[in-house]
Subunit: 483 residues, 2 copies
């Protein structure tokens, strides 16, 4: 009730342009309790398979919501529980669903500098100080920052400008397998006008960042078959066809020298980028020279000289190659097979099924008979070129919210008002987020607002959170609550 | 002296056309003592690193020669000793040097059906009976067969028609490293008009076989560099060049779809095959259909539809490929590098240095800067395409004795006379023999006469000798002694 009352007062009490100063001041004054709440949350181990501790995390999160007067509940699923919260704001015409996840990657304790990744350690001073713990940045920090922003607004007698729903997932790092099935059971609670995903590292410039989408992924193993078992390269070399050479020829037929995919129709579904799209891509601050230097690469692919443009297209990436042995175990043979592990990054216009069908057609056009298992003798006797295309893991499609979507524009406008300059706006992330099927199934727009430091060692040992960035993110969260 | 006397009588006592019958009858009558001598020799373990037993082998071989009135000696080298024998035949105008090796491949006892690979076991009956032991066929059987042939001639009051020298090597399976250096020390003893190498499996038809040469080999690792370490294929896919794709394109540029090497000048040094060469290749009995069926290959390379022709050309074989991971460990990255392990089978006209220089030039023509070690930052910043070409093991060149060489013709003529039909004549073996540098350094013609069963499990567990084939080979040896 106090929140509802505050809403009525909000415009009068604090001008939106003051939001940054107001929330920053509050955060400065409450550093220790905010940090204490984060440390307490990080102290509960959260590997998805550790069911008792996952349950303890869920209980704690429910309490953290309830303590703030947010209606909170634990939603059981076929896997780890979801934590749900709902804050209804009188007269609000928009509902925003905030998504975070509370589970973390497994830990290899021996590789950490601290004895226990679940006993957080602060190193360094001032804004450069960092908090080291599993999930410090991925993804418990956004939960604590978001709830701190709720507190900051309340303290300033402000309420969120939208109805707010919270959904905290407990198995994101384990593939989110229970998330889509949970929709059928909890659709009414999950309904909203916009989902804001609070996950991932922000732009390296440190500016607030909004991503409108993420590429999807399909992983495929492509095998070209040679003789049934390796044959002597002296006794039969030149005569028996070599599957490694043929795989190389097949892969070479799929990409041009300048890096474009030459599989027929691969880019056909993509409309040309419009002027607004191009302006958006050009506005992303990038230090390509520094990135290339870091990677030790003299120049990018000629067909994709600018990174943001490169991310707008599907890829055909060879992530691994294998055939017989290289190095110590090498034998002078014509190998029995050669395999390329491919990953196809998908964009909104090119779902997995479409690109895989085109890839398959291309392999056939190159003269290959495609099999679904190692070929039998009859198949071997009939076809001189035999290949297998095998889906490795289930594909995840891309999502991309329209840049002109009104809810998305409201997010950008609020961040622009709050910070005095527009956020870094990414038309799509290059990578893939496991939540994409959830977004697709819910059917309303989604944005990602990544807030933690880009160099957080996410998924690795010594995961960390830059505290200056963390406290700044409370302002970002407040702006998201005040669309 | 008895041998010299027998020589004078030889033409009168037995017509050459009777040689087969005479030697076969003698071998039949002496099966047990011949087999006993072989079993006794096989009972001395002969792995090249087992110095005490290697010495016991050498001593036994010296005794086996001396017992037959052959001047015999152990020649010390920087490695395992050579066993040398010499049989001077009055009025002989030709000297033939027979080469065999007495060492064998290492044994993995657990994989053998018998408890000890150095305690020979006979299984089966009649001509199909097989003797199982390490070196049963590779390469102690030819030594015993050759000495049995000396005995058979003596019994028939025949002598060899040439001066005969024997050289038995003790580290062929360990790379023959001491063999070429030994030439400087023992050149006078090793001088001959012709070397006959008694090693390897005969033609699958079971007919006597003469090979005029063997291809050489050079092994090369070709690495294409990507980013310094693998980068995320989502975050950077399309933008950062992929070294596995580039390696595929580079390999594809080296071979045509029909299997010809497209590296400039690769075949330039080869004169066209003449009518006599073609007749020789066409005369080799081959059951290509059966071979292809065994290998599970529908058709050979279109550029090389006939095996014997395929062997006359150098190869560019990809014996292995590797880049990042395929399968369980696969990660969605743009790999840091991709490597192809190549073997180049060499022919007489294309020594290793020549083909490697052409390969190197080809890689450069494809736009690559070639490095000799992993590139440093300055190199990475300067060149967008970086590759490494690395010799894996020292190359072995090819050897090939002219088909019209008079000594070679004498061997073929003697085998033809003895067996009533010409031997299978191979212009070159497809594989490589470690003795090639020895042949090159000695500087006189060499032929290989392989005599043991083709399915002998050479180098593997349960190595065996088909006894019917072994006793037949005594006649072949006699023909070689009676050129």
């Amino acid at each position: 009730m106090r929140i509802a009352a505050a809403l009525l007062l909000s415009v009068a009490v604090v001008q939106p342009s003051d939001l940054k100063a107001t929330v920053s001041a509050w955060a400065d004054a409450h550093r220790q309790p905010i940090l204490d709440e984060l440390i307490a949350l990080l102290s509960v181990p959260n590997v998805a398979t550790d069911r008792p501790n996952i349950r303890r995390n869920a209980e704690r999160l429910r309490e953290m919501l309830a303590r703030r007067g947010i209606a909170a509940d634990i939603l059981e699923t076929t896997g780890n529980p979801l934590v749900y919260g709902s804050l209804t704001v009188p007269n609000a015409t928009r509902t925003v669903l905030f998504y975070c996840h509370y589970d973390g990657q497994p830990v290899d304790r021996a590789k950490w500098r601290q004895p226990d990744p679940f006993t957080p350690v602060v190193r360094g001073d001032g804004p450069e100080a960092r908090l080291y713990a599993r999930s410090a940045s991925d993804d418990k920090a956004p939960i604590v920052a978001l709830l701190a922003a709720v507190d900051a607004l309340k303290s300033a007698q402000l309420t969120p400008s939208s109805n707010v729903k919270f959904i905290f997932e407990g198995e994101e790092e384990a593939g989110s397998v229970s998330l889509v099935p949970a929709i059928a059971r909890y659709r009414d609670r999950l309904t909203a006008d916009l989902m804001i995903i609070l996950d991932g590292p922000g732009h390296s410039s440190g500016r607030p960042t909004v991503a409108f989408g993420a590429r999807g992924i399909a992983t495929v193993n492509l095998t070209v078959y040679g003789p049934k078992s390796g044959v002597h390269s002296g006794n039969y070399g030149n005569w028996i066809p070599n599957p490694a050479v043929r795989l190389a020829q097949l892969l070479a037929s799929m990409k041009s020298e300048d890096g474009r995919v030459t599989v027929r129709g691969y880019y056909d579904a993509l409309p040309p980028l419009g002027a607004a799209d191009r302006a958006m891509l050009d506005a992303v601050p990038e230090d390509s020279d520094r990135m290339l230097k870091t990677f030790g690469v003299a120049e990018p692919e000629k067909a994709f000289p600018k990174l943001q443009y490169a991310l707008q297209y599907p890829t055909l990436n060879v992530r691994g190659l294998t055939s017989a042995f290289v190095g110590a175990g090498a034998r002078t043979i014509i190998p029995d097979r050669a395999t390329a592990a491919l990953d196809l990054r998908l964009v909104k216009e090119t779902p997995a099924a479409d690109l895989i069908a085109k890839l398959r057609a291309h392999v056939e056009q190159q003269g290959y008979h495609i099999v679904d298992a190692d070929p039998d003798d009859a198949t071997r006797a009939t076809f001189s070129r035999i290949a297998r295309l095998e889906l490795d893991t289930p594909p995840t499609n891309a999502f991309r919210t329209s840049v002109s979507d009104p809810q998305a524009r409201a997010v950008v406008a609020s961040l622009t008002r709050t910070f005095g300059q527009p956020p870094v706006q990414l038309r799509t992330l290059g990578g893939t987020v496991p939540i994409a099927p959830f977004i697709e199934a819910l059917g309303f727009p989604a944005l990602t607002v990544p807030t933690v430091n880009f160099d957080n060692n996410q998924h690795e040992e010594n995961e960390n959170l830059r505290l200056g960035t963390f406290f700044d993110s409370i302002v970002t969260m407040a702006a998201l609550l005040r669309l």
